[in-house]
């Protein structure tokens, strides 16, 4: 059928975009509190290897997810400590954790007498529904043909969006990221808020990583997530720090790698577009968005939280 490649591509985009949704929304929450976490890549990787290891040994997906969450959160606590308590350079701290996390994940995958490398996951995320509705045209596979985590991602996005813009705690979070001094004056504990959301970001990054190792690339190997963590950082900007936009951005760029196969099937001239150029696209768009969105009036509505990346020093009494 002619349109089958569209559905196929869209389906793949949703699957590949799902871990990006988790990681991006996690980073949105972190950055909304004013902390820049460049360690997302490392946190996703430790999440991936931890989830794989847990599921490999217990054959239980839920435990794998939990392991991924804990691993991501644990690594992010270090970042919270250096950024919020020690107030040292957030950029360097994040980069350090990415390098460390990357090395650690690879190490854990290869270490020991019976390394994880090369082993397939005993259980992976399978589609929730089968038969019947999954065979409806277009809507069938796209809405009903997915595994649990795709739907969980939607729930997370919806919850994050509601939380951020319609609850008192979300308001406090936004205030902390915009103007921590005024937030503190209003009685909010800025440090506690930042710790909390850095860890939320790390936990969600861990979930994103787990989805890679337990679904997308279900045989453990080095670097299963590609550049996903970096793409997530880019997507935060493209999503203007809003959770629902992150879903669309993630689906759009999640397909970037997959698109190449589709282009092959379409033949000339589409198949001539190199995969490397496609892989560049999220980053190019992020830069353009950065430049356009963060200057001038638009920045106020669509730009970064004003206090992003600036360490907060509480005034002494």
């Amino acid at each position: 059928m002619n349109e089958s490649w569209v559905v196929e591509l869209a389906f793949a985009a949703m699957v590949l975009g799902t871990p990006l949704i988790f990681a991006t929304i996690g980073e949105i929450m972190t950055e909304r509190s004013g902390i820049l976490n460049l360690g997302v890549q490392g946190m996703m990787l430790v999440g991936a290897v931890s989830a794989f290891w847990a599921t490999y040994n217990t054959e239980n997906l839920l435990l794998g997810l939990v392991a991924g969450i804990l691993a991501g959160a644990a690594l992010s606590v270090i970042h919270a400590f250096t950024s919020v308590t020690l107030r040292v350079n957030q950029i360097v701290s994040g980069l350090a954790l990415t390098i460390f996390g990357t090395g650690l994940a690879s190490f854990l995958g290869q270490a020991g007498s019976d390394p994880l490398v090369g082993n397939p996951a005993p259980v992976v995320f399978e589609p929730l529904f089968s038969g019947g509705i999954t065979e409806w045209p277009i809507v069938g596979p796209l809405l009903f043909g997915h595994d649990l985590m795709v739907y969980v991602a939607w729930v997370v996005a919806g919850f994050a969006s509601y939380y951020l813009f319609h609850t008192k705690m979300g308001l406090s979070l936004r205030a902390v990221g915009e103007d921590p001094a005024s937030a503190e004056a209003a009685g909010i504990n800025v440090s506690a808020v930042r710790y909390a959301y850095v860890m939320v970001g790390g936990a969600l990054a861990g979930v994103g990583g787990a989805y890679y190792s337990l679904k997308i690339v279900p045989t453990w190997q080095d670097g299963p997530i590609g550049e996903a963590g970096w793409i997530a950082i880019a997507l935060v900007i493209l999503a203007s720090w809003r959770p629902w936009r992150a879903v669309f951005a993630a689906y759009l760029f999640g397909a970037a790698g997959r698109v190449q196969f589709t282009l092959q099937t379409l033949g000339e001239p589409w198949s001539n577009i190199p995969s490397t150029i496609l892989a560049m696209t999220p980053f190019v768009f992020a830069i353009i968005a950065m430049i356009v969105l963060t200057s001038g009036k638009r920045a106020r509505f669509l730009g970064a939280p004003a206090a992003l990346g600036i360490p907060y020093f509480r005034e002494e009494r």
Binding site: K168, L171, A175, S182, A186, G187, I188, R300, R317
Partner: protein, 512 residues
């Protein structure tokens, strides 16, 4: 001391309040009484202790000793949150509003009584109602950065009313308002008082105090000087209470008569950071060999005047002629080359590079030329030798090799700063509050340096709030108020009363 004639409970009473910062006494044995339903003005010069007292009341600081009572019961606030819970709130000069959030969101922020869910429509309705009731109308869905300063101030006040504050403290609220907005604010204040709330109104402007307050308390040097009913208070008496003592006239050598004008300022207009006009058509001149002092309470345009004169901000109108050259729109570097020296108010924030050494700071403006650099290369020996000479000559103490200058004491920092400026042998030296916060020895040293410049034939413009300093050094005095010069006199004609009145906005009958 409780007013025996008053039988009703006081809204707030402070007794024997002491507060020091780093050994400097900001409030000493202060008593203060606030009644229900009154607008109470707190009057005093800068440094008199008004802001400190208010901050204690608002829970920002804890007093070192003394007692506080609210409605007759002992009270102690550990934080602004505590104070607000007890019904005391303050509108600071620097607003605590989150710029990117809406008015309604700012009202809701940190509010203890709101539920988990933000009911935006309810918030907006309540904000609108509150605004209408008190004449503080603002669009609740507007973001703070979209509002004018006057509107932002309304939001700050609404915040307090939304928490049902019974005591509201406004710190110099009219500093950022137009005259019309100020009138509207006074109306609001009176309305709040009529409801039974109490308003503390910090100000240095006598006409406002007379207009809106029921009672006035004057602070000077950290102590209460007097508390009177406004109706009974004469501006002259208030001014004298504010400024206090009979100021000593200087006993310095009058020196040679001043020469030609080295700085001529005509119809100068300079904008503030917010784009409002802070210097509104000032004209004066400074002649060689004289010290012209500009006195005034801070916030009346002094900063913008200084910036406009040295090239840090381009004036929107008028001209600045320096030694015969028009430097009105010249760059900072050109100003320096044409011979202007500037001792800014912020030592470590502007005048000195805190992380660099003393020698490097002493060369901050001269480094482009020999002996400090040759052909783009720095000559380290020049830094060392010139530095050593100046450190010796100007008695800058505490210097060690490689030590960042920020570790020096205040007096030595200022000596270094002033030393650097006078070494350039400027034609005109502009100094803002040069001896503020310095001990006796350093004050003496800096004053002598200024007088030495005067003797050398430089023209000195001394911008200060310290009347003692101004009287000790100036030949002539100008008084600045709301961006204009409202008084001119030779120093012999100056008196505490006269200066106090001018600084507080009371114009003199005859043109100066």
């Amino acid at each position: 001391m409780v007013d025996a004639a008053n039988t009703e409970t006081l809204a707030v009473e402070l007794r024997n309040i002491d507060k020091s910062f780093y050994g400097v006494l900001a409030n000493a044995d202060v008593d203060f009484q606030l009644r229900h339903g009154e607008v109470h003005a707190l009057l005093g010069e800068n440094g008199a202790g008004k802001s400190t007292l208010c901050s204690i009341l608002a829970g920002l600081y804890r007093p070192d000793s003394g007692e506080m009572f609210m409605d007759g019961e002992a009270a102690a606030f550990k934080s602004p949150k505590d104070a607000l819970a007890a019904g005391v709130g303050m509108v600071y000069q620097h607003f605590r509003l989150v710029a990117n959030l809406t008015v309604a969101e700012n009202l809701a922020l940190g509010h203890p009584d709101l539920g988990i869910r933000l009911d935006e429509s309810r918030l907006q309705k309540e904000a609108t109602e509150l605004g209408e009731r008190y004449g503080l109308g603002v669009d609740p869905s507007a973001r703070i950065w979209q509002l004018s300063v006057g509107e932002q101030q309304r939001v700050e006040i609404l915040k307090l009313l939304y928490r049902n504050a019974k005591v509201l403290i406004l710190d110099e609220p009219t500093a950022v308002l137009t005259p019309q907005e100020a009138q509207a604010l006074f109306k609001t204040m009176r309305q709040m008082a009529e409801e039974g709330r109490s308003v503390i109104f910090v100000s240095h402007k006598l006409h406002e105090v007379k207009q809106v307050s029921d009672r006035v308390t004057v602070l000077r040097g950290g102590r209460t000087v007097g508390g009177v009913d406004t109706a009974d208070a004469e501006p002259r008496d208030l001014a004298r209470m504010m400024v206090g003592r009979d100021l000593e006239l200087p006993t310095r050598d009058p020196g040679a008569p001043p020469g030609e004008p080295v700085l001529s300022v005509t119809d100068l207009r300079v904008q503030s950071d917010r784009g409002l006009e802070a210097v509104r058509g000032m004209a004066f001149e400074v002649r060689a060999g004289e010290v012209v002092g500009i006195s005034g309470v801070s916030g009346n345009g002094q900063r913008e005047l200084a910036y406009g004169l040295v090239g840090l901000r381009t004036p929107t109108a008028g001209s600045v002629i320096l030694g015969g050259n028009d430097v009105t729109s010249a760059s900072v570097l050109q100003h320096i080359k044409q011979g202007i020296g500037y001792v800014p108010q912020s030592r470590l924030g502007m005048g000195l590079a805190p992380g660099l050494t003393t020698e490097e700071n002493l060369a901050l403006k001269a480094f482009r030329d020999p002996p400090y650099s040759k052909a783009g290369r720095l000559v380290q020996s020049a830094f060392r030798d010139e530095g050593a000479r100046e450190i010796e000559e100007y008695d800058i103490r505490g210097v060690r090799p490689g030590l960042p200058i920020r570790l020096l004491s205040g007096g030595n920092l200022q000596k270094a700063l002033v030393a650097r400026e006078v070494e350039l042998k400027p034609i005109v030296l502009i100094a803002r509050s040069p001896t503020r916060g310095l001990d006796v020895g350093a004050t003496e040293a800096v004053r002598n340096l200024i007088l030495a410049e005067r003797a050398r034939g430089a023209g000195v413009l001394l911008i200060s709030e310290d009347l003692d300093e101004l009287l000790a050094l100036s030949d002539r005095l100008l008084v600045i108020y709301e961006g204009e010069i409202v008084g001119r006199m030779p120093v012999e004609d100056a008196s505490a009363e006269r200066l106090g009145l001018l600084m507080a906005g009371q114009r003199e009958e005859a043109p100066a």
